[in-house]
Amino acid sequence: MEASKVIHAIYTDDDILMSAVKTVKAERYHIEEIYTPFPVHGLDKAMGLAPTRLAITAFLYGAVGLAVATVMMNYIMIQDWPQDIGGKPSFSFLENMPAFVPIMFELTVFFSAHLMVITFYMRSKIWPFKKAENPDPRTTDDHFLMEIAVHNNEESLTNLLKDTGAVEINIVNKDEDAH
């Protein structure tokens, strides 16, 4: 069990944080994580995070929902128990499809929205009874915390972060099994 050391640099301003991220990246340090109280626009790009693919999953889930609705309507209304409702016989899916458009639309939205949100919760590891992992409670108020791993470069890293305008710099020992 190896204890790894990280440095926590705390900022009080989003603009200072952004310029700090750029400086740190330019010095070729790897930023482990940044905790912010609100979405700072452009931060993901500056940190070098890959774009999220959740929108693509939403599209795929929507396609699944549409397929489910189509199969369900065809089975229930056309195959399993065809009826002649109000002089409109249900013997062909294509001819009867207009009556199923509302259901097909609703199920597309239902699948797309819920499965995308579930994917988001799973990927970001958020669910009921999950313990919060922000290292400082002020990061949900007005503080921004940057976490960088320390590899025998404490001194130079601390000096660099000090220059970027961090208001607090803490060295933290992180137990690997604490997760």
């Binding site: 949100v117 988001f120 922000n134």
Partner: protein, 577 residues
Amino acid sequence: MASHYEAPIRRPLVTGEKSYHDVTVDVARPVEGKANRAWWIVFSIALVAFLWGIGCIIYTVSTGIGVWGLNKTVNWAWDITNFVWWVGIGHAGTLISAVLLLFRQKWRMAINRSAEAMTIFAVFQAGLFPIIHMGRPWLAYWVLPIPNQFGSLWVNFNSPLLWDVFAISTYLSVSLVFWWTGLLPDFAMLRDRAVRPFQKKIYSLVSFGWSGRAKDWQRFEEVSLVLAGLATPLVLSVHTIVSFDFATSIVPGWHTTIFPPYFVAGAIFSGFAMVNTLLIIMRKVCNLEDYITVQHIELMNIVIMLTGSIVGVAYITELFIAWYSGVEYEQFAFLNRATGPYWWAYWCMMSFNVFSPQFMWFKKLRTSIMFSFFISIVVNIGMWFERFVIIVTSLHRDYLPSSWTMFSPTFVDIGIFIGTIGFFFVLFLLYARTFPVIAQAEIKTILKSSGERYKRIRESGETLSGTGADSRTSNFKIPEETTASKPLQDNTEKLGNLLEGVGRFDASIQTADDLKVISGIGPKMEDVLNNIGIFTYAQVSKMTKREYDLLDEITGSFPGRAERDDWSGQAKNLINN
């Protein structure tokens, strides 16, 4: 880097000298503070109405639908009227959060949380009516397409009533998920501020362990955008499908193709009116005037004016088409609405929905809070009459003059309606006391571009970089300080440091203020402060994190209390008022 630029012509959306920390404190205050007397009075009234409604529902279910005022001719009346009214009200929330998000309207951020809450609570009320009307609500699951013991018997997917089941369930569940996802960061803020263990536990649970990582935020924003994209056609589809309940029938007055757009416009209209009703009260009670400004109310009034006019066009189009179609049954239905025995309901509808919003053309009227509130109530009533007119006056004189009749509600009809209003307000009042009623994380993203304070800084030509810092939450500490042990100070030295920070009180030229006015300072704490030498609001207002810490060290009681209650912010307010 974000430039935070916004055209100077735009009025600030957050007024007052707000920093990021101020937003946190202002949003957390109603949750962390105690409910005032007004809240308890309104809550009790709502609770009594709710219980009365439950009584009427139990009476209906145990005796039968016969306890309502329905008869052979008017066989659908208040139940469906109330249902459509509540669903209509439930349209503004998603409209504000979804459509206005797609249009990048920043003003939505102050009101979307409450509007969505209103949506969800209103759809609850709407959903009650079809379930009660089933007569055997425990068999409500029969509307679902589930394999059953009756052979290959399925629900009828050709029926708009079944489409409604799917539309409303999808709408409710998607709105709920949209709302809750947006709430996660704000619950996390309350969790991280909570002092009492019970509150900490609850907010930890409901915030799902939100930590605010950069990647989480990236996904959060993408999910919000996609949900908005999905919810926009969804919200339009729901009332479209509700209108199909009528439009696919062959009853004169219902059988019109204009219904879907007409119902959707009416829903947005009534929804915004209800948002105005609720928020005008809430901004006052929760001291949120800096976030829900007169500008917000004005913009909502403009939406009410626009959609009210669309509804007016729809009413007139209906009349024109009834005449132009040459169908004498249609012509009679509309003539009967305007001049028959229910003329008063028709003209209530016309004047409340079409005429009253036209006052909003006048800037003076639409920026008047009292007038906006009055009109919002008028519109709420008018929109209830619209549904009543469409439903009852189309039915009460059918094709067979011998069966013509009138409808009069029984006390049960009235009781259930009042009960749902009570239930709605019970939910909304509980929400206002326990939820972050403003999407504070979102507000913080626009604070530097649309906050009054930052607009002023930007216009004076100074940089916004570094202005997010707040002396109350953090001092500029040089890193050495955190590692080195603090020099031991005795109390007199600390006292000197403290008074140096806040300024000394001179009894000969100053008068002492009543510090007990500040929430968190009791008589005992006031004595302590006086002994230290703090007597005035001005002194308290100058306290920063450093002074709070010194104070905690000197008194040793209630550590962190002053910071959490934001004494300095409170004192600043007291000085300014």
